[in-house]
């Protein structure tokens, strides 16, 4: 009996700690939601303080959507994310296979380059990358947004680890069957690294979505911005209209949140893989 009550007390304590944590994590999102349905005067009323809007108005949403072309912003963000995922997964899978499964002169040098890139803070690349895009006349394009993600050192590293950990026998059996390098790569080994490819895809998508400085630098026209940079611009334009700012934030975050909730298992496993393979 005594042990039982102790256990019950223990799990109640754990639940309380976790619940406090959950409240802290979720309140900013709730506040974003509630504010976006308020009028300006409701949002700035202190006495009495308004928590719930008196009516669920869509005015702030309508207003930001008339000021900014959100369809365009979603499209730009989608192109950025898909482009980054495509290039990251294709180049990193190929390079990861070469580094993880093939023995040839120059391999260690190439791997050294990959490790070196990963140790350097990314801001050091930005000025030269910006000048390159500018010289190509590609500022304010989708290409500019994707450009720094054409290859990925981190992804190459991740896929190399995945290929190294695969058993030897499989590939040897394929060699005996007369498979060439390319067939072995594409039909035998590549399908086995699916989880790492998914992890890289999710990781790439998240960080492309969250990247702020690069889009701010290369795409300064509102029609070519992704969501992250557009939000930064909106804040500069109507600083004190919090219902509108929160409505814009909602519009920027909700699609990704829905995708996350639908695929949360893949998200969490993907992030876990990308961290634990190091």
């Amino acid at each position: 009996m005594n042990i039982k009550t102790k256990k019950l007390l223990n799990s109640a304590l754990i639940q309380i700690v976790l619940l406090i944590g959950a409240v802290v994590m979720i309140v900013p999102f709730l506040w974003m939601l509630l504010t976006s349905f308020k009028t300006i005067s409701e949002s700035t009323q202190v006495n009495p303080f308004v928590i719930f809007p008196s009516k669920w108005r869509l005015d702030a949403f309508k207003s930001v959507m008339s000021k900014m072309n959100f369809l365009r912003l979603y499209w730009n963000t989608l192109v950025l994310i898909i482009g980054r995922i495509f290039f990251a997964v294709v180049t990193a899978t190929m390079a990861g296979y070469a580094l993880g499964r093939l023995k040839f002169p120059g391999r260690n040098l190439a791997f050294g380059l990959v490790l070196f890139q990963m140790m350097v803070p990314a801001q050091i690349f930005i000025i030269p990358q910006y000048l390159m895009v500018s010289k190509m006349g590609m500022l304010n394009t989708s290409f500019a947004l994707i450009f720094p993600g054409l290859v990925t050192a981190f992804g190459t590293f991740l896929l190399r680890q995945a290929y190294i950990s695969l058993p030897k026998d499989l590939e040897e059996a394929a060699v005996l069957d007369g498979c060439g390098v390319f067939a072995r790569f594409l039909f035998v080994m590549l399908p086995l690294t699916r989880s790492s490819m998914v992890a890289l895809g999710i990781f790439t998508a998240l960080f492309a979505f969250k990247d702020l400085m690069w889009p701010l630098v290369v795409n300064t026209e509102q029609t070519t911005m992704p969501l992250s940079a557009a939000l930064a611009k909106i804040q500069g334009q109507f600083t004190s209209d919090y219902p509108e700012l929160m409505a814009a934030s909602m519009l920027a975050c909700v699609p990704m949140i829905i995708i996350y909730i639908l695929f949360q298992k893949q998200f969490i496993e993907g992030i876990a893989t990308s961290g634990s393979k190091m």
């Binding site: 900013p28 580094l99 190439a110 350097v120 720094p148 930064a232 975050c253 190091m278």
Partner: protein, 299 residues
């Protein structure tokens, strides 16, 4: 015969290996490796506004850098941010991970909620926190007032603002650290805990004798990546601190200054010098961490 076959095989590997590597190696060289040297090179030049060309100025940017009080202040601000964000985000994430590693009701729901900030745009996060921190109409000051406390100037008081920014940083990254810790915890064999249970070790003893030592590879990885990430803080500061905010000087980070000089004031030479300083700082700190980790794991 056999030998010839072996050479042939290796040649094939050589051909395919480099073919597969080519996009990545060429890309890394053009996008990353050469730009490192270009940035260092650029730091010896002065770039004027209005399209004026590069003028070689030797070490002048660095001389200016070392005598520029705002750069030292920014370096100090960056460290202050990292010293708060890293330990707290790790400690809180560790508590969550350990609790969620048990068979708890609502495990998945908690995990989903804690990770939520990771999928939100940082600009949106910064905006909503700025709104929460608002000194007149913000939710936080309202809560403080309702329990009889005075309002706090969360982001305009220079001696508080850096903490407010670090809180947003912690809140944003706790879920990410937690997911990495959960993955690490799942690697620890369950027998260890059963044996400890039989020996009568309580939960705290188990945590320090089993969990923490077994988790040290994950801990090392999370710490090193978090320190590097925290030293590059930009988004929150850029979004939350107006250019007229009196606390800006005491909160702006090195990367913020880099952005300001390179892309707002178009002084790419000075911006480059700042980012070279950041590179040096990160390299030194990472080297120290790796050294300490080696020493610690050998002992």
């Amino acid at each position: 015969m056999k030998r010839r076959e072996k050479t042939k095989f290796n040649l094939k590997d050589f051909f395919w290996g480099w073919l597969f590597l080519l996009p990545t190696v060429v890309g890394l060289l053009i996008l990353n490796i050469i730009p490192i040297f270009q940035t260092i090179y650029q730091s010896f030049f002065k770039t004027g506004a209005f399209g004026k060309g590069n003028i070689f100025v030797g070490l002048q940017n660095y001389k200016k850098l070392f005598s520029d009080a705002s750069v030292w202040q920014a370096l100090f601000n960056t460290f202050k941010y990292a010293i708060i964000e890293v330990p707290f985000s790790i400690a809180i994430a560790l508590v969550f991970a350990v609790l969620l590693n048990k068979k708890i009701r609502g495990r998945t729901v908690y995990r989903t909620i804690y990770f939520l900030p990771m999928v939100a745009a940082p600009a949106a996060i910064a905006m909503v926190w700025r709104w929460l921190y608002n000194s007149e109409f913000g939710l936080l000051n309202h809560l403080l007032n309702s329990i009889g406390l005075k309002s706090v100037e969360w982001i305009s008081n220079p001696s508080i603002a850096f903490i407010s920014i670090a809180i947003v940083g912690i809140w944003s990254v706790v879920g990410y650290n937690m997911v990495l810790f959960l993955a690490g915890l799942q690697e620890i064999p369950h027998d260890y805990y059963e044996a400890a249970e039989i020996d009568g070790a309580n939960a705290f003893r188990q945590f320090f004798a089993i969990t923490l030592p077994c988790l040290s590879p994950t801990m090392f990885f999370v710490t090193v990546t978090r320190v590097i990430g925290a030293l590059q803080v930009f988004d929150v500061i850029y979004m939350m601190m107006d250019r007229v905010n009196p606390a800006l000087y005491k909160t702006q980070s090195l990367v913020y200054l880099f952005y300001k000089y390179s892309f707002v004031e178009s002084n790419k030479g000075y911006g480059s010098a700042i980012v070279v300083l950041l590179l040096a700082v990160i390299m030194i700190i990472t080297a120290v961490q790796v050294y300490l980790q080696k020493k610690w794991s050998d002992a």
